[in-house]
């Protein structure tokens, strides 16, 4: 045994103080008596001196002395020398996906069991450098190999599972390759990795049955406002499960009782009349994994584009715009922000806010049109420009085109007789495009490529509602905002802004209803926990456990002070109990 701080042994002198206090207390006991006058004159009993001496070896004193000795020894930091295995690097990977929050039959979550396992592993290698990784769709290194044991212990105290889905084996491989030299990697999870990763020892942490909603969709019926909710519910237990399924849009609701056979997935279609765009499906009663007992969905309805038309009307362009997207055309006099301004055959006196499409129109500082000149064949000067994607300009004919007298820096895409026909640039941070010719002096509206050209222009200037808009998004996976037009901000379920103007994607961290605000208004977006988390059953059987690698032996000092403190507390409790017992006897 060795002592870390032998200087504290000096405190053993406190034993003397305990003995002194004991004799001071034992020397004279104080009593109140009613008839002192009867005691006055009574002679002291000489025999009691011997009795007092006998009392000096007292069990209470012995217990006090032992307790003080234990405490002083504990302060000196005693330890027993021993040997422990030492690795050059140990990685503990904790699956922090949503399913790890499932409560097991013992009352602890799977994650808490994983943390317990991690602590055991830490204590097996008391001197090895360790890194702890919290692994999910958004993995995070809690501490690196250079951190000390105290930091590792604190990191485990703080670690909590998130709402994300599982990380991929490739992500894990990437993380481990950047973590330094690792002799041993232990992965605690409730389901094995999709494909094994070389050198990773997998430990399954299971427990807790789950019945959950794994899919939810809402489709409009032919006669609105009727809708049908499609729900898939999975019973991941070995017994029949009775649940009540309820689908609601906040006003109307429909309920049905379910009897789910063991380890099966059932689909249900529930028609009802809806009055909102946010639908919630929930199962009751809830179970050990509550995250999938409720799911939300926001059907991806088209977001209308608000376009302000200035100048001469043109039904060809208007028809092409309407064919491209859901358009809400407003006049000059109507107030409010718009996604795009189209100016046709007009010289704008002042620049409008937002993206701008000039057709045979001008704007001071951007483009100024002059006299009409004869047209001719259309020449392509920027074939790679996205505005020409799928468009063949060779079919275009132009009878006349105005001279472009001044043009801001930008990119000329098409020219006619040396005059820019199609041009794109920027005005401040806002995009602007110009078709210099009057459409009625060209054959553009008659070509099959015209709607394509208009769609490309709209997509480049505003960003068209994309085809990839989803009814719901998944926690931990980036959500593209390309389908929402001009995004002003995104707020999470708590109302906090998590993405600002111009954001093209955001990363949801919690499930719930997010709000995407655009120039045309607000659209809800449901975010749910990854449905794959609802069924964390083993996808493949684990290979036979890999034996831990051979580790070097290192000398360690195994602390014994906790035992000494416990012994001191026990002795003091015994002393108190005995003293109390003696006191009661004396009173009786």
């Amino acid at each position: 045994m060795s002592l870390a701080s032998p200087a504290f042994l000096a405190l053993l002198s406190l034993e003397g103080l305990v003995v002194l206090l004991y004799f001071l207390r034992a020397f004279r006991q104080s009593h109140e008596v009613a008839a002192l006058f009867l005691w006055e004159g009574v002679r002291s009993d000489p025999q009691t001196r011997a009795a007092r001496l006998a009392r000096r070896i007292d069990l209470l004193l012995l217990l006090q002395l032992l307790a003080v000795a234990c405490l002083v020894l504990a302060l000196t930091g005693p330890g027993l020398r021993g040997h422990a295995p030492r690795l050059s690097g140990l990685a503990i990977v904790l699956d922090a996906s949503a399913s790890m929050g499932t409560r097991t039959e013992g009352g602890q979550t799977r994650y808490a069991l994983a943390v317990d396992g991690a602590r055991d592993l830490l204590s097996s290698y008391p001197t090895s450098p360790v890194t702890i990784i919290q692994f999910s769709a958004t993995p995070q290194t809690l501490i690196g190999l250079d951190a000390d044991r105290e930091a590792a212990s604190q990191a485990l105290d703080r670690a909590r599972p998130g709402d994300e889905g599982d990380g991929t084996p490739e992500m894990l491989q990437g993380l481990l390759s950047g973590s330094g030299t690792l002799d041993r990697v232990v992965y605690f999870s409730d389901q094995p990795l999709r494909t094994p990763v070389a050198g990773v020892e997998e430990r399954l942490v299971t427990g807790g049955d789950n019945v959950g909603i794994v899919a939810l969709a809402v489709r409009d019926d032919p006669i609105p406002p009727a809708v049908t909710a499609f729900v898939r519910v999975r019973n991941d237990t070995d017994a029949y499960a009775e649940r009540t399924l309820r689908v609601s849009d906040g006003t109307a609701a429909v309920e049905t009782a379910l009897l789910l056979p063991p380890n099966t997935e059932q689909a249900y279609a529930l028609p009802f009349n809806a009055s909102s765009d946010v639908f919630t499906a929930s199962l009751s009663p809830r179970d050990a994994f509550a995250a999938d007992d409720t799911r939300t969905v926001t059907p991806a309805r088209a977001v209308p584009l608000r376009i302000r038309w200035l100048g001469t009307p043109n039904r060809y362009l208007e028809a092409a715009l309407r064919a491209t997207a859901d358009i809400n055309l407003v006049g000059q006099e109507e107030a409010g922000a718009v996604d795009l301004t189209v100016a046709y055959g007009v010289m704008l006196p002042a620049p409008p806010a937002g993206p701008l499409l000039l057709v045979h129109a001008g704007l001071v500082g951007v483009a100024s049109l002059g006299e009409e000149t004869d047209g001719g064949a259309v020449e392509t000067t920027a074939l790679d420009d996205p505005i020409l994607a799928g468009v063949d300009p060779l079919d275009f004919r132009v009878r006349s085109v105005p001279q472009v007298e001044a043009l801001a820096p930008g990119r000329i895409i098409l020219e006619v007789a040396g005059v820019p026909l199609l041009w794109r640039g920027e005005r401040g941070s806002e995009p602007v495009a110009l078709i210099s010719a009057d459409l009625m002096a060209t054959n553009l509206p008659l070509t099959v490529d015209f709607p394509l050209l208009v769609r490309n222009l709209l997509d480049e200037l505003v960003g068209l509602p994309a085809h990839d808009r989803v009814d719901w998004a998944i926690v931990g996976r980036p959500v593209s905002l390309s389908g929402y037009g001009t995004v002003l901000r995104v707020t999470d379920p708590e109302g906090d802004t998590i993405a600002g103007p111009g954001a093209s994607l955001f990363l949801p961290r919690t499930p719930g209803i997010y709000t995407v605000t655009t120039r045309a208004g607000s659209a809800p977006l449901a975010v749910n926990v990854d449905p794959a988390e609802s069924s964390p059953a083993a996808a493949r059987s684990l290979a036979s456990p890999t034996p831990p690698p051979e580790a070097l032996e290192a000398q360690v000092l195994l602390p014994i002070w906790p035992g000494l403190v416990a012994a001191a507390v026990l002795l003091l409790l015994l002393e108190a109990a005995r003293y109390h017992g003696m006191h009661i006897r004396r009173v009786r």
């Binding site: 008839a35 002192l36 009574v42 009795a51």
Partner: protein, 292 residues
């Protein structure tokens, strides 16, 4: 019900009543015989007829035999003023339960007995002076006053019986049945005070309340013994011999007290606090003739 006494205990007191040996001079109707003639069924004496006497009380047999006109007189029944003198000096807080609590319970029981028999009962707590008292009154509302006072009393200070009894005699206007509830362990004398009470015509009952530890102390070893009233102390090494000396002195003190009271026909009861109150009242007080 007040925690000092419980209902079951009071029910068991129902058939008891105080016994006054002499005829009392009370002024309210009650259950005790008065030295003055009055209206009751109990015959007292004859006296010569005088003008104004009620003809119904003339004994016509006597008139026929002796040719003298005599009228019959009857015993007048009056109430018995009962006074509880309660010692609240600091020494009364000693013991488990304390002597003060035991005395308060006993006082409550005695008050109930008296009030139930339509007697007037008063409470006079004292230390070295008389504390605010509850003068004797009839009726069960007086019980509430007495219990309320007993609940709020706490022992403290010192006492001197001669002085306090002299003060009491000077302050109260009528004699009655006086219960002195105290440990009577005081260096100051008690003889003068008790004599004054007897001289005035009070019937005195002395109940000495002691802690069993005072009768047979279990002290051992070096001890500092302190008087809670005077704060004087004695340092002593207590063993068998010292305890024997103390017990001998205590016995002598108690014997002297008992002899003094016996000479004056004053009932005396020694009540250790481990003696059940019921036993004290039902057995010892009846044996002493205080209750019947």
């Amino acid at each position: 019900m007040d925690p000092l006494i419980d209902e079951a205990f009071l029910r068991r007191l129902a058939h008891l009543r105080f016994f006054a040996r002499g005829r009392r001079r009370g002024h309210l109707a009650g259950a005790h015989a008065s030295p003055r003639a009055g209206m009751s069924l109990e015959f007292a004496d004859y006296r010569d007829y005088s003008v104004g006497d009620d003809f119904r009380y003339i004994d016509w047999n006597i008139v026929g035999r002796l040719d003298r006109v005599l009228v019959k007189t009857f015993v007048r029944e009056v109430d018995l003023p009962i006074v509880l003198l309660l010692d609240l000096s600091a020494s009364m807080r000693l013991g488990h339960p304390s002597k003060g609590v035991y005395a308060a319970r006993l006082a409550a029981a005695l008050a109930y007995l008296g009030l139930r028999e339509y007697d007037r009962v008063g409470l006079y707590p004292f230390t070295d002076h008389l504390l605010p008292a509850i003068p004797p009154r009839q009726g069960m509302s007086q019980m509430a006053h007495i219990l309320g006072a007993l609940n709020h009393l706490s022992p403290g200070g010192r006492t001197s019986f001669d002085d306090i009894l002299t003060q009491y005699v000077g302050q109260s206007r009528e004699s009655g049945l006086v219960f002195l509830l105290s440990d009577l362990l005081s260096e100051g004398g008690y003889a003068d005070g008790i004599s004054r009470l007897l001289y005035r015509g009070d019937e005195v009952v002395v109940i000495q309340i002691v802690d069993p530890q005072e009768l047979h102390p279990a002290l051992a070893g070096p001890s500092r013994l302190t008087d809670p009233e005077t704060q004087r102390h004695v340092d002593l090494s207590v063993g068998d011999r010292a305890r024997a000396q103390y017990e001998a002195r205590l016995t002598a003190y108690l014997d002297a007290l008992r002899a003094f009271l016996l000479d004056r026909r004053v009932p005396y009861l020694l009540a250790p606090t481990d003696l059940p109150l019921e036993q004290l009242i039902h057995e010892r007080m009846r044996a002493q003739g205080v209750l019947q």
